[in-house]
Symmetry: C2
Subunit: 238 residues, 2 copies
DNA sequence: CGTCATTTTGAGGTATTTCAACGAAGGTGG
DNA sequence: CCACCTTCGTTGAAATACCTCAAAATGACG
């Protein structure tokens, strides 16, 4: 399991601009900072369905996804499950409240992540503002994603939501196996829970987009965009 | 406009736990740090419908809400408007991407906020990790709220969404005018855009909850919970 | 006391959900 | 190697809930 992780030598921070005046010096994670994080990090390999942590557990660490795809979800009193987001290489996770994790995080494919214990991470951040700044950028990125997701699930149409989901996967850092195809490293159920639909609706939307010649699935775990124009006009909801 | 703001003497940070091991020393904003922020802050008074900034504008500052209620929203290509969140005293806002604000922020009632220019804020944060840490906690709080909101809008029922919205207002730091009533400092349209419903649906949900004896509106800007039990069982969706 | 914006109400259309059942894929054990 | 089982995905038909369009009612304000 969890092959081909060699190129990730440490916690990779997909740092994105937020608190970033046009021309300001953006603190990037330098080698020393990477080593510092690596020094307190535990590599964790997750098989599909493996948990990084579960909802309500004591929040003792923050995680950074090194490879693969991880879903962050919550089970509601209604019995439904809501996937609040998918996490890919470079994404940070471990959101907590009152010392407890608010979501469960489970790998949807062979994945690897770094575990950064708070006891060690917090002092390092308080001592290295540049590193802390990078963490802040990461969290900001997650916030942007959450808002995007929010807007996505309010689209009335299942087709639009599905297209936007595929577009999200396309722009993710997932490794592409065959050129032109988009990896779909999760089940229909995961997608449904992410889009706020039932699996039946996802299935029907898939069929409709397929028969309209917009996309084409090669098995359940890979999809190709056939009509880019139609696809973009559907996915462009934000 | 914007009266009774005297008790807020500086940027108040409703710091919430995230990166917080049970017993760790939680850095709180001390008086010196408050003064430092206040030193670079511009007080901005907003009349209802006044903008703090607009979508796509160059992001030159971060804001902290000092008083009132501010909606953060995005206009979609479809013509619909999505309110991604309401901001109250202590909330931070100014989310940007590639140097541009991603949302517009507009006061829904007389409000006041602090404007913290990035040019000055970033150096301060890089120099004071404790203060920076507090900022991170704030952003984390916004992330939690965004996820909660996400789950909220996926509830199928309009009644449930409305109840959860009222509950959100109840737990907000808005000043209560008459005891037992919950202030509703926004229009039905704002609520609809926040809940992903039409104003008609909000109106009907209101009527249904009212005729079920769960709530009672005193004018469009204040509501009272009559049946706490029913109310909570509806609002408890997260 | 008009005017404008907001809110409410009504009737019909439409998309998703629900319920039920079938089909496909992968793993286990005899 | 095949039967069996579990998980996952697909399809169909009816019900529900929200949306859309239209119009009346309420409230704020000059």
């Amino acid at each position: 399991m969890t092959k081909d992780l060699s190129r990730v030598s440490g916690p990779a921070l997909r740092a994105l601009p937020f608190f970033r005046p046009e021309n300001a010096a953006v603190p990037r994670l330098n080698e020393q900072q990477r080593q510092r994080l690596l020094g307190i990090a535990t590599r964790i390999d997750l098989k599909p369905r493996g948990f990084a942590y579960k909802e309500h557990a004591a929040a003792g660490a923050v995680f950074i996804c090194g490879e693969g795809a991880i879903k962050s979800f919550r089970d509601l009193p209604s019995g439904r499950r809501r996937v609040v987001g998918f996490l890919f290489r470079g994404d940070i996770f471990g959101l907590a409240e009152n010392g407890r994790y608010v979501n469960s995080t489970q790998a949807t494919m062979p994945s690897m992540c770094y575990r950064l214990p708070l006891e060690q991470l917090v002092p390092i951040m308080l001592q290295d503002p540049g590193l802390e700044f990078n963490m802040m950028l990461k969290i900001t990125h997650e916030l942007r994603e959450a808002q995007r997701h929010n807007i996505l699930v309010c689209s009335r149409s299942a087709k639009v939501r599905l297209a936007a989901c595929i577009k999200m996967l396309e722009s993710s850092p997932l490794p592409v196996t065959s050129p032109g195809t988009i990896p779909v490293p999760m089940t229909r159920t995961d997608i449904a829970d992410y889009l706020g639909l039932t699996i039946e609706s996802v299935s029907r939307a898939t069929r409709e987009l397929t028969s309209a010649g917009v996309i084409k699935f090669s098995g359940p775990r890979a999809v190709r965009v056939l009509n880019r124009e139609k696809f973009e006009s559907l996915a462009r909801v934000l």
